[in-house]
Chain length 267, copies 2
DNA sequence: TAGTGGTCTAGACCACAAA
DNA sequence: TTGTGGTCTAGACCACTAT
């Protein structure tokens, strides 16, 4: 199955560049496309094929006028056990900045969001748009929608320096107890691409979520789009719901016996 | 930032094609690249830019010699609450086929897998490689590793028609109670690309996982690579699943200090 | 202003699928 | 055999960044 045909040229170039990227550090500048074309005696389009591959994999960034630079390692976003972006990065000791892009306290609800929030037709919602930056680099974009009664009381500025879910919980007076979301890898829509500062061909991980308080009442929905070239993701899920498996698992211990976990998991 | 410059030609072509795709049904054949180039009075490279965008988004498939066809809708893989691929698709009423590609009962453990399984250096493992097909189309590729004592007793044929996790649970005599995994969107390595029948530039969602039984002993690890053009994903996670409304946030890390965000962890 | 990557052209040859 | 998409060439102009 493998190895039959000759490997395309751009893969050779990409392989060489990958080695070069390993030798150079983050933020290093790679040779220009023209220089690479000359060095490998290929056309610029072939070089661009190789760089395109590396860019998709998140190894490099290309910026018109500046050149192609080596990316720092991806950050890790831990989705399970369920934590907010703020809690997650704080617990990893990763500094980040939240930048509010816009807040619209009253607007017609987009149909999809209206359904997530369980609102009747022609409902109004509030919409908060923001981006997160780690080390000065945009990693994700949030578009969050709130029912009118929450939106009216929401001060978007508070979200800039506090956990957004806690701000909402304070407003509502109940903790968020569950979340569900659809996750899809897709080219960024124009507005999201602009917010994330990526080209129209860049793929993002788009999470369309709903948050609920006890009783199942939805209090927030929206879409969070992650730059897949800057983020990877982690999940830890147990069948048994009682104890938190994470607490009992010290990194890569071998044969320790955390007696906490003996519980029956239905099945 | 937005709206300033003229939209590139290939976006216009892509937008038109997107409409056309909506009108045509799944598996329809789109015009050839040359026909599109002629119709829009652009070069073939521009047309390819548009088709490339649609292919990344999973709207079309392109096959040398056949042409460009409209894809059927993506399937949904539900990762949380934790379910196996088999359980998940069965519960959705989606038929699938498992095809064993290879089984190596004894081989040196790759370092990453050895660490996941908590094995000492120079350990041997068994390796099972398979793909899943829905409606005749490959949707994911599994490369599963087992400690030697399990591998020696594993009959790979049984996995073709039964839930793989159940087969292992039967062998081990204990249920799998927890799983964790890293999730990354990245170009498929050569061997995975071959197994998934995609080009070297195609992105996949690569999940590198570990399964554990009670006590925390790992019994299986591996990487499952999903074609992001054919799959989307769903999660439903609760903070507390029982009656008590206030139960507990993540273990004891409840009170995060907002002041921790600004400092620490530079690079 | 100089130099980068983004877009685009008009060709070409090849590997592969289907008739 | 025919026609497709995959790869590749040798140019070109433009938008943007940095100086």
């Amino acid at each position: 199955m493998a190895g039959g045909t000759r490997s395309p040229l751009y893969l050779d170039v990409a392989a060489w560049l990958e080695g070069e990227i390993g030798r150079l550090g983050p933020n290093s500048l790679l040779p220009t496309e023209e220089q690479l074309a000359e060095r490998f005696r290929v056309s610029r389009i072939t070089v661009r094929g190789a760089l395109d591959l590396l860019e998709r994999g998140g190894l490099v960034s290309r910026l018109r006028g500046r050149g192609t630079t080596v990316n720092p390692p991806k950050i890790t976003r831990r989705f399970a056990p369920l934590t907010s972006f703020e809690q997650d990065l704080a617990s990893q000791g990763v500094a980040f900045v939240t930048r509010i892009l816009s807040y619209e306290p009253v607007m017609p609800a987009p149909t999809a969001m209206r359904l997530c929030l369980g609102l009747p037709a022609d409902s109004q919602v509030g919409c908060l748009s923001l981006v997160r930056l780690v080390d000065g680099r945009i990693v994700c974009h949030d578009r969050r929608y709130y029912p009118a009664w929450i939106a009216a009381r929401l001060d978007p500025k508070r979200v800039e320096h506090r956990d957004a879910s806690e701000v909402i919980e304070d407003l509502v007076g109940s903790p968020i107890v569950e979340s569900d979301w659809d996750s899809e890898i897709t080219p960024a829509p124009r507005d999201v691409a602009a917010a994330l500062d990526v080209g129209p061909r860049t793929l993002v991980l788009a999470n369309t979520y709903t948050w609920r308080i006890a009783g199942g009442t939805p209090i927030e929905a929206g879409t969070i789009s992650y730059r897949v070239d800057r983020c990877k993701f982690h999940f830890a899920i147990g069948f048994n719901r009682r104890a938190s498996p994470l607490a009992a698992r010290p990194a890569r211990a071998k044969r320790t016996r955390p007696s906490a976990l003996g519980g029956a998991a239905g099945k």
